[in-house]
């Protein structure tokens, strides 16, 4: 299966912010379980806008929905901050308390699996 190497960046989006205190809802899943990629990266993976992708790093993996964002440079994957992004980020704090929320090396590939709900994500860590 085709894969691309990316730097994973996580951060705020308005839609994710709107549902920040509504995290058990479907709307939050739609807003935060998303991976934005450049159109060229998407085409290289053979993925269409709205298809599911697996984002995987040394620290974990998660399935989210891919979305085209051509304002993203090639090689950068953006996932809104939150429960899905944090399955993949590097937990090391570099001795200052702060995990690597931006810049974790990850790979993205096509996935036929469904996006886990919050309840499924939390069952997975128990």
């Amino acid at each position: 299966m085709k894969k691309i190497d990316v730097k994973l960046i996580t951060g705020r989006l308005v839609e994710q912010g709107i549902h920040l205190e509504n995290k058990m809802s479907d709307e939050y899943l739609k807003a935060a379980a998303v991976c934005e990629l450049n159109e060229r990266d998407m085409a290289g993976l053979g993925i269409r806008d709205g298809g599911n992708v697996r984002v995987k790093s040394r620290f974990g993996e998660v399935v989210v929905r891919a979305r085209i964002n051509n304002d993203n440079p090639a090689g950068i994957a953006f996932i809104p901050m939150g429960a899905w992004a944090n399955r993949v980020i590097d937990p090391d704090t570099g001795g200052c308390g702060m995990p690597h929320y931006k810049g974790t090396d990850a790979e993205v590939s096509l996935s036929y699996e469904s996006i886990p709900t919050i309840k499924e994500l939390m069952e997975d860590v128990k």
Binding site: R12, G17, H19, N86, V88, C96, I118
Partner: protein, 429 residues
Amino acid sequence: MIITDVLCPFCGALCDDIVVEVEKNKIIEVREACEIGVSKMMGHERIATPMIRENGELKETTYENAIDKTAEILVNSLRPLIYGWSSTTCEAHRKGIELAEELGAVIDNTASVCHGPSILAIQNVGLPSCTLGQIKNRADLIIYWGSNQAEAHPRHMSRYTSFPRGFFSEEGRRGKKVVVLDVRKTTTVEVADDFIQVAPGEDYPVLSALRAILAGEENVVPSCVGGVSKEKLIELVEKMKSARFGILFFGLGLTHSRGRYNNVVNAISLVRELNAHTKFVIMPMRGHYNVTGFNQVCTWETGFPFAVDFSRGQPWYNPGETSAVDILNREECDAVLVIASDPGAHFPKKSIEFMAKIPVIQIDPYPNPTTELADVVIPSAIAGIEVEGTAYRMDKVPIRLRKIIEPNHLSDEEILSRVLNKVRERRGE
């Protein structure tokens, strides 16, 4: 009833011009706020009653039972961690710090996964800063570095920076230049005059190159630094030097990426050096509406702004050792009390895997991923909507949060006060 001049308890911009219409103790309309603020104030699903987990299931209980169970867990814990605080009042912060001291606990705040590195940098090199009012009235060059404020603080530009006409900025947007530096072309770029794309993790060398050019040493700067051409860097330095009043706002693009607090040290140093040429200031784009307030209260109560360990009987501060993610990653604590935050969603997988193994107490108005891990759940009233109190805006200006409707739940401060009394009772004090 229409209530004016309401504060929005969401982000660090702490907008204080919101208009809210209330009918029969229910908010029916919110005006002037951004989409996120409207969503917050109109309300979401709430935790209805206190709950205690039995045989894997959360079962409804009374406040009294949940608070007693909380005290039992905390008193029996050798190394409790108390974490959160950014979406509640300074009055609750004060009570929480008293509880942490009583327990010999570690108390930490969401700053440690947000602008904690900025605080470390400020402790190193200081912070030439000002209030947002000064920026509104004086700034003619506005730089956002690693900050997508259009998504994170949607009214920041319209209230404080690019758009308002101020006392010395009568022309409004026409008289101001806005520059964005980021690794992606974010939505903030759409309303900027210039965008400089920095390669991921390369902010530090770009800042160093700007400092070298400013010091007149441009001959040591290579033709391209961190994906930015030398010409572009020289142009930016000229723009900064020729501003009457410049402001550099920085976001988590600096604190979350490679270099962390060193990036911020470099950014503050650049701004300090710019003051040899013109007036220039710098400000972190604080996220939650009262994350700044916790750092203020914690500093005047303990001497330190976050990540304070009371286990020695006196405050001990060493982020990296006493910060929440590190304590969880080292599997060091044996109970966690989470209040007004959601580490279940916002901490790395490794940290919450350990949380799942130890008793977790949650105090919050809303169900969230932390609820799924919690053994005791105590619902609270929403600060700034159902409870009044003090919050600090991102520029450290304290503003009074207003109570708009009557709560059906206890306030964070009241819950903590009752927990503290129960802890003392159980210890026979």
